[in-house]
């Protein structure tokens, strides 16, 4: 099963191409093809996770070019976990789209599969340039998906999002050019083995190029000075699209984790690129998300602010990147992705049912079908706010115990607890506005069974993460250990081949 590694990228790619050809085919055929591709991807990523949990890091060289050359895919435990998380989120998002919103614009399914392929590739690639290419694939698909369904608000938000990300792509290319110009390679494992050997004269340029790269990843993961776009963009996207967007910021977080742990290690040239300032910015992001949560006038914006808070929390962990912190982080990522994705989806669903009020947070008649929708909201809200007994509580407990060094401990605990308190307050207020009104409830609008299943799946994720907390956190610990050992990754990619001879260029 050596080709298994490629399948999570290949299946959605092939499906996207096929769906593009079948654009005039009946909707039922397109839907079943998209569903089959996503289910196939889910199956393959489960197999990949099972294979990787045995411990070895797998690498796959396209066209069998040996390691520092050629196009390389690498799966360690971290990559396998993120790919599985991607498909676990993509399935409910697709199910929600099947409930009707996929017909609002052309090519929805092809774009959706392209975005999934780009995300899977970004997690699996072993090469910085291919990381750029997969980033572009997922961004281009997300630009088009954001504009899916009409409306001036969407094109306007889409325009800002595209311009911002094009600047990010230009910076990414600058960083890649400088890295290739100084180190002579873009293969991640190769860079990791070269970084301790950087000659004195190149140190400044190498540090600058990695600083630019870090800035790009921080833009993708929406850290404070570059986070202002996020609530705006996420809250206007169509329901299934917004749910899938919940994993977009995590791509930046995981890429940054890979960069600091696998590539930098403790090479002296990369010391101090993150540490004094990233925790401060991350705490600022948590504060900004909390303030935005209080100021939100729509449920969609409130849900997007929750994404911001979770982004801040994750980046704080990445900044210190201790093995214990990383294992807590890897337990927290699935929880926060699925819960915020569910909340974004629910915001769209509730907006649809309230008619002219949309998802504005104003007094109005109660949302119909209180039991099901209110129940899903309650589960998601409890999970996100980090109240016991759901997974947010366990995740935050692990984060508190393990992440910060002693002198950061107080402010870290304060940030986590205070943002949790604020989330509880705001989410409870929203619940009473939406579900606790004396008037007669609005008539129930049928969502279609696949839509109900989608919300149900995302709401069930948090209780399941509690029920299976022991195996999940054991896997996260193993993944963090493997990541921090570094040698399994480097050995799997570079093998025991002698170091490549390089000419020293002027």
């Amino acid at each position: 099963m050596t080709h298994l590694l490629l399948l999570p990228v290949l299946i959605p790619f092939a499906a996207a191409a096929l769906l593009l050809l079948l654009r005039n085919a009946p909707m039922a055929l397109q839907r079943s093809l998209a569903l089959a591709a996503t289910l196939g991807g889910l199956l393959v990523s489960v197999l990949l996770l099972v294979q990787q949990s045995e411990g070895a890091v797998a690498s796959y060289a396209l066209g069998d070019w040996p390691a520092p050359y050629g196009i390389l895919f690498v799966a360690d435990r971290l990559a396998a976990q993120m790919v599985l998380l991607l498909f676990v989120l993509a399935l409910p998002a697709l199910l929600m789209a099947l409930a009707g919103s996929d017909g609002e614009g052309p090519h929805f399914h092809a774009l959706f599969q392209l975005q999934v392929a780009g995300l899977a590739g970004a997690f699996l690639t072993g090469d910085l340039f291919n990381l750029f290419v997969f980033f572009e694939i997922l961004l281009l698909a997300s630009y088009a998906l954001l504009a899916h369904g009409n409306g001036p608000r969407r094109s306007r938000a889409g325009l800002l999002y595209v311009v911002l990300n094009l600047m990010g792509s230009a910076l990414f290319l600058v960083a890649l050019a400088l890295i290739y110009g100084t180190l002579g390679t873009l293969n991640m494992a190769d860079i990791a083995s070269l970084l301790p050997l950087v000659p004195e004269a190149d140190i400044g340029l190498v540090r600058a190029s990695f600083a630019i790269l870090i800035a790009v990843f921080l833009l993708k993961s929406a850290v404070l000075p570059m986070a202002l776009w996020l609530p705006h963009v996420y809250s206007v996207a169509a329901m299934p699209v917004a749910a899938l967007f919940a994993i977009l910021t995590k791509v930046g977080v995981v890429a940054l984790l890979r960069l600091t742990v696998s590539l930098f290690g403790d090479a002296p040239v990369a010391q101090g690129l993150l540490l004094p300032w990233l925790p401060i910015l991350a705490l600022g992001t948590i504060a900004y998300g909390t303030i935005a949560l209080f100021a939100a006038d729509r449920l969609g914006i409130a849900a997007a602010s929750l994404v911001l808070i979770s982004s801040g929390i994750l980046l704080f962990c990445v900044a210190f990147a201790s093995p214990e912190g990383t294992s807590a982080l890897l337990y927290y990522i699935p929880h926060t992705t699925l819960a915020t994705g569910g909340m974004l989806m629910l915001a769209g669903l509730i907006g649809k049912r309230r008619g002219p009020l949309e998802d504005r947070l104003v007094r109005g008649p109660c949302v119909g079908n209180r039991l099901a929708i209110g129940g899903a909201y309650a589960v998601l809200a409890v999970a996100i706010a980090g109240l016991p007994p759901l997974s947010g509580f366990i995740g935050k407990l692990m984060l508190m115990q393990s992440v910060a060094p002693p002198h950061w401990q107080a402010v870290w605990w304060a940030a986590l607890l205070f943002s949790g308190l604020c989330m509880t307050l705001v989410l409870a207020r929203i619940a009473s506005l939406l579900f606790w009104q004396p008037d007669d409830p609005l008539p129930d609008i049928r969502t279609g069974s696949s839509g109900r299943l989608a919300v149900g799946l995302l709401a069930a994720a948090s209780p399941l993460l509690v029920l299976f907390a022991a195996p999940v956190s054991a896997y996260a610990t193993a993944a963090a250990t493997q990541l921090h050992q570094r040698t399994p990754y480097l050995d799997a990619v570079l093998g025991d081949a002698p170091p490549t001879q390089r000419e020293r260029r002027p």
Partner: protein, 117 residues
């Protein structure tokens, strides 16, 4: 030659950044295109300049031109072209929907319009 090219790259990026900070979509798109050009030249530079370097191995040649930056820049050009095309289409749509090509007119009060407009 290196100095000249790096100055050109820096100047082009500076012009591009200034244009991107303008309020209207057309100048923003021009700015992004300029930045794209400059970045492509920078990628090509990362393979080092050399007039005597053959692209394919020849007898008697002292070295070879680095083929990788050329492959990278080709990919970057294609991606940049696609992105620009999409951005043009999207801004035309936004213009058609709201009758205004400003990037920042969320809830703009018509009274405080830009004097240059």
């Amino acid at each position: 030659m290196e100095l000249l090219l790096s100055l050109a790259v820096g100047l082009t990026i500076a012009c591009g950044v200034w244009l991107v900070l303008r309020p209207r979509t057309f100048s923003v798109i021009l700015g992004l295109t300029l930045i794209g050009y400059a970045v492509n030249v920078l990628i090509l530079l990362s393979g080092r300049l050399g007039a005597q370097m053959p692209p394919i191995s020849q007898k008697g040649a002292t070295g070879l031109a680095d083929p990788l930056p050329q492959a990278l820049v080709l990919t970057a050009i294609v991606i940049g072209f696609g992105m620009t095309a999409y951005l043009v289409a999207l801004s035309l749509r936004a213009l058609g929907e709201s009758g205004d090509d400003r990037l920042d007119n969320q809830d703009r009060n018509p009274a405080d319009a830009d004097p240059e407009a």
